[in-house]
């Protein structure tokens, strides 16, 4: 998916009794946000929100 103009990969999985969602920037695959929550939807929503916030602050320069 794309957030704030940057490609992002979401990975979700279950860990014990919680759902975990991690949002990585595609290059270099650094984790921007990881949230654990009782539901998958909540975990994904939190991860996307934080990733969006961080990515929106990335400055671009003319080359």
């Amino acid at each position: 998916m794309e957030l704030a103009g940057w490609p992002v990969r979401l990975t979700s999985y279950r860990a014990g009794d919680k759902y975990v969602c991690q949002a990585d920037n595609v290059s270099p695959a650094a984790c921007l946000a990881r949230f654990a929550a009782p539901t998958l939807e909540e975990a994904e929503s939190q991860a996307i929100s934080k990733a969006q916030h961080l990515l929106s602050k990335t400055r671009r320069y003319a080359v």
Binding site: S27, K57, T58
Partner: protein
């Protein structure tokens, strides 16, 4: 299909499942996101935070010999222990730990091919239980600085143009369009790359499942940019950890005899008064 130059430094998930209880093996998780370990990790694995436990937290430097000895002693490691490293992001920071362990002479260090991602994808168990091991009195070797490049060496390399420089950052960092990976803190005043560097993003060495590409694929990847055994090679990125991943690939998988990691990297070079900088996309490699 040719084998890697040093296949013994990689282990597969199937092998690790059979060795989880081996007392001579210590598994260590090193993630970009240091909270990942607490959410779930390979049974028996300890967790190392790269930003507090795998670097000097007062001055910008890798662990001192004494700091590494304390870290490994607490982990119950002896010089005969096989340390298996793994982490997220294609083993990005696991390679950083690997590099430092090799600087200080630990004999048997390996990386779990595919890292955390492959372990999870293969359906293997995760646990939140943190293990406890009896402390040892680990003694490290004197640092082997032939694995590490410092600023003067890189400056000489730029002037002499007799060394291959591999910039493993994204093309947008390389060109100067951005100063840091998207979403991460900017750590330099200027964007661009070290003059003469070739752009080979670190992730190109890995498959989608996080495992390393084959020997043939890796050799072709780097050869296409003029990176081979004919010249010494220096790898760099932003703070030296992505480049430690490429250092690992070039030295242990491809088998280049002379490759070092410049951990000062762009954070040092891009903030250095008067340092030459090139901007723009990479030119085609010389034939």
């Amino acid at each position: 299909m040719s084998a890697y130059a040093h296949p013994e430094v990689l282990v597969e998930t199937a092998w690790l499942t059979k060795n989880l209880s081996n007392p001579n093996i210590r598994i260590a998780e090193v993630d970009v996101d240091t909270s990942a370990y607490e959410l779930g990790h390979i049974p028996g694995a300890i967790g190392w935070a790269w930003n507090t436990q795998l670097c000097d937290t007062v001055r910008r430097d890798i662990l001192s010999r004494e700091q590494l000895e304390a870290l490994l002693s607490e982990a119950g490691v002896t010089p005969e222990t096989t340390i298996v490293l793994y982490g997220d992001s294609n083993n990005w920071f696991a390679a950083w730990a690997f590099w430092q362990l090799k600087i200080y002479g630990h004999k048997d260090v390996r990386i779990l091919n595919g890292g955390r991602k492959k372990w999870i994808a293969d359906g293997h168990e995760l646990t939140a239980d943190a293990p406890s091991y009896a402390a040892t009195q680990y003694r490290a070797q004197e640092p082997d600085l032939s694995l590490r490049a410092f600023l003067p060496q890189v400056q000489q390399a730029v002037q002499a143009r007799a060394v291959s420089l591999v910039d493993v950052r994204s093309p947008q960092e390389f060109s100067g369009e951005i100063l840091a990976p998207p979403g991460l803190p900017e750590t330099c005043q200027r964007g661009g790359h070290i003059p003469g560097a070739r752009s080979i993003p670190w992730g190109k060495a890995c498959n989608d499942d996080g495992t390393f590409k084959s020997y043939e694929e890796l050799k072709a990847l780097y050869k296409a940019e003029g990176i081979d055994e004919s010249r010494p090679t220096i790898t760099y990125c932003r703070i030296g950890e992505r480049s430690s991943h490429t250092w690992f690939v070039l030295k242990y998988l491809v088998g280049l005899p002379n490759v070092v990691n410049y951990d000062g990297s762009w954070t040092e070079w891009g903030n250095l008064v008067g340092a030459p900088v090139e901007r723009g996309a990479a030119a085609a490699a010389a034939a």
